[in-house]
């Protein structure tokens, strides 16, 4: 049953990847010039002094931390949706207490200015 449900998905994956390859093949056949164009990066016409790939300064770094906390929470919340009627009130109370604690964390992060970076 389980495996049978995944077979069409695997087939779809294969078809899609094949489709993209086919498209690339068609393009290779019809494109005006075969050889790729080698060029510099564009930022208005002038050249940068260094290679642009760098350790990018992500100023929203604190947001990733908060996001990670909630992402873990989602791991519990997905299966939780299926058991709410079975377990009853305790399930709801526990989940929303948990969410409440996380939201308090969000409130704190907000006060500390984690969501503003300019």
């Amino acid at each position: 049953m389980e495996a049978a449900a995944w077979e069409p998905v695997a087939l779809l994956f294969a078809v899609t990847v094949a489709g993209v390859f086919l498209l690339r093949g068609v393009a290779a056949a019809v494109r005006t010039v075969r050889e790729p164009l080698h060029t510099g990066p564009f930022s208005g016409g002038l050249e940068p002094r260094e290679h642009p790939v760098s350790r990018f300064h992500v100023r929203w770094y604190p947001v990733t931390m908060i996001f990670l906390a909630f992402d873990m929470e989602m791991l519990f919340m997905y299966p939780w949706t299926k058991v709410v009627p079975e377990v009853g009130t305790p399930a709801v109370v526990e989940m929303f207490l948990f969410l409440g604690i996380l939201l308090a964390g969000v409130g704190y992060a907000w006060r500390e200015g984690a969501f503003r970076w300019t």
Binding site: R31, E35, H38, P41, V53, V58, K82, V92, F115
Partner: protein, 280 residues
């Protein structure tokens, strides 16, 4: 089917010169490699976007039948749609160009902003149906649509549909101010696959609102598939309209809104639904 839908939407979209012509234009165009670019990453990133969109669509019911109605279809959709994060970032990083790098990172910031309210919104729909199977979510709406009694979750879902396809008001990762951003150094078939993938993602995201919130194939008189098409077209039409009314939303402003307003709202909506589920 999906490709057709993406095509039809692109035709309605006033800005494009006709999708058929655009596809041809990109097919005959020469490929382009920037200095010291990571070519395998460009290929991988661009290919990943349409593949993720189509795989997300595997659980999308057309009428009442989908490619495969997985038992955890809602989670599957979520997982596939999140692959776009990798796709856009890889595509932005690989060409070794400042503006495209900025575009790629913008999408990560955008993901951090839209994803959490989005996940809470789709779990709310799953909670209402007490199942993670998309077919079961549709069945639960044979009477009342979820959009009616979970309007907040529906609204948040529509916002995140735009954001995950980085389109319309959320097009900053590929915005004009960074000369195309993550897509800025792509030409030819790379560009076609990437932008085509974006259209697919937009259509899939819009179409997924139908089984989640708009009753799927349920409706009077017409067969299920016709309702699916009609409702998807209505959602897409709304998104196209919305784009004309609003400028591009910058993440440094949106993150705050998403976390401080939308997330608590989504949690409150989930609480209301949980109480209703307990009571019935």
């Amino acid at each position: 089917m999906l490709v057709l839908a993406a095509w039809a939407t692109a035709t309605v979209d006033a800005r494009s010169t006709g999708p058929g012509r655009e596809v041809l234009r990109l097919l005959v165009q020469q490929r382009r490699i920037t200095r010291a670019a990571d070519i395998p990453l460009v290929r991988l990133g661009t290919t990943l976007l349409p593949v993720a969109a189509v795989l997300a669509a595997a659980v999308l019911p057309f009428g009442f039948r989908s490619v495969s109605d997985l038992p955890d279809g809602v989670v599957w959709f979520n997982a596939m749609e999140a692959l776009a994060w990798a796709a856009v970032w890889l595509t932005g990083w690989a060409p070794n160009s400042t503006l495209s790098l900025i575009g790629g990172y913008r999408f990560l910031a955008q993901g951090l902003a839209y994803e959490l309210p989005h996940m809470l919104a789709i779990t709310t729909a799953a909670l209402g149906a007490e199942s993670l199977q998309v077919g079961a979510v549709v069945d639960a709406q044979s009477g009342l649509w979820f959009a009616v009694w979970m309007p907040v979750a529906f609204g948040i879902y529509l916002l995140s549909a735009l954001a995950m396809a980085f389109w319309g008001p959320f097009d900053q990762p590929a915005g004009a101010d960074v000369a195309g951003g993550a897509a800025g150094e792509l030409s030819g078939v790379d560009r076609l696959v990437f932008l085509g993938g974006r259209w697919l993602l937009l259509v899939v995201a819009a179409a997924f609102a139908v089984p989640l919130f708009l009753g799927g194939g349920h409706g009077p008189l017409l067969p299920g598939w016709a309702w699916t098409v009609l409702k998807t077209a209505a959602v897409l039409g709304f998104l196209l309209w919305a784009r004309r009314r609003v400028p591009t939303v910058r993440m440094e402003r949106y993150v705050e809104l998403a976390w401080v307003v939308l997330t608590p709202l989504a949690v409150a909506q989930a609480l209301v639904v949980a109480v209703v589920v307990l009571a019935r």
